[in-house]
């Protein structure tokens, strides 16, 4: 639901960097969004495009890459993905925030919650 403000922040970061680098045009914007974040990638792509309208980045292609979850378990040392149950009854992916090996809840989410402006492709003046 906060895709618009997030996208506006992304656009601001892109335009600040483009200005700093004396870009004539921004051709590409690459963003990483973790699967455990609450952002919908399609909506972010749409709002970033919209926020960049009328700027030197208005023709930029917006790429969104999804980052898979990675956790580490403080109890048993497991490192890897979360257990995500695909329940056909509800047509949802139900994550389980515990260690898939030892069921401990003492886990750290290392990846999967980020929203990162990874890089931009620019053409200089």
């Amino acid at each position: 639901m906060h895709e618009l403000s997030t996208s506006q922040a992304i656009a601001r970061i892109v335009l600040d960097k483009a200005k700093e680098q004396r870009a004539a045009k921004v051709l590409r914007v690459e963003v990483e969004i973790g699967r455990l974040s609450f952002l919908s990638p399609d909506q972010v792509a749409f709002w970033v495009k919209t926020s960049l309208e009328g700027t030197l980045a208005e023709d930029a292609e917006v790429h969104i890459e999804r980052v898979e979850p990675q956790i580490s378990c403080r109890a048993c040392g497991y490192r890897g993905t979360l257990e995500i149950e695909d329940d056909p009854l509800y047509h949802i992916l139900l994550p389980s925030f515990c260690c898939p090996e030892c069921r401990s809840s003492e886990i750290e989410i290392e990846k999967g919650r980020e929203c990162v402006v990874k890089r931009i492709g620019i053409q200089q003046e």
Binding site: M1, I10, P95, S96, V116, I120, G121, I122
Partner: protein
């Protein structure tokens, strides 16, 4: 030394690696540190609109009045209705209006905390904006996070919004007096919550009568 010069009009990749959520996390850590320095324990209360956040917070304040020095931050889009209701129960309340934003963030909470005399309080209850999605993404610096769901929201609240429970410590299943009328089994909601996060403490409550509020305080380790 080999120097590569760019030709005119060449395309460059500029690495940014700028994490938008990192700023909020850093501000949240700052809030936590400030609260710790003043010995203030903070709870972030999340839940959808109408789940009973304000009523349960009011009950918590009533129980703790005289024992703890309480302040509350009430997040709302534009009104002070919630803030007024909590204040009426005996806590000093700062209203944080988010305008159109669907959640509180660490920066707004930082501003709210700045309005409080932290040496005069030892418990801060933060009522988040009514929403079961976005607040989960924005830690505020609270020591515990509680999610309130109610049986009147139907039987699928946990399954539909599993991610809000990711960082929660306590879940209150509210309005249990309506379970039968709503044909919603609180035991099923509890099972769903524990399936998502086994370490959750689940408490059944009735915000109007105050039933289960002691259980909430115990689960949050508030005496």
């Amino acid at each position: 030394m080999k120097i590569i010069e760019a030709a005119e009009g060449e395309v460059f990749d500029i690495e940014l690696e700028e994490d938008l959520l990192k700023k909020n996390r850093e501000l949240a850590e700052g809030n936590r540190k400030l609260l710790d320095e003043h010995g203030v324990f903070a709870v972030d209360v999340m839940g959808s609109i109408g789940s009973g956040k304000t009523t349960l917070i009011g009950q918590m304040v009533r129980r703790l009045k005289g024992k703890r020095r309480i302040a509350a931050l009430a997040g709302d889009l534009t009104t002070t209705i919630d803030a007024d209701r909590i204040q009426a129960q005996g806590a000093s309340v700062i209203e944080v209006n988010t305008g159109k934003e669907c959640h509180l963030d660490a920066n707004l909470v930082k501003k709210g905390i700045a309005e409080l005399d932290l040496d005069e309080i030892d418990l801060l209850i933060i009522e988040n904006v009514g929403n079961l999605i976005c607040p989960g993404e924005f830690p505020l610096g609270a020591h515990k996070r509680m999610v309130i769901i109610s049986v009147t929201e139907g039987p699928y609240m946990v399954l539909k919004h599993p991610y809000i429970f990711m960082d929660a410590d306590v879940v209150a299943i509210n309005k249990t007096d309506f379970s039968e009328a709503m044909s919603v089994d609180p035991a099923k909601l509890e099972k769903d919550a524990l399936r998502v996060k086994p370490s959750l403490k689940v408490v059944r409550t009735n915000g109007l009568t105050g039933e289960g509020v002691d259980g909430i305080l115990e689960a949050l380790s508030i005496q």
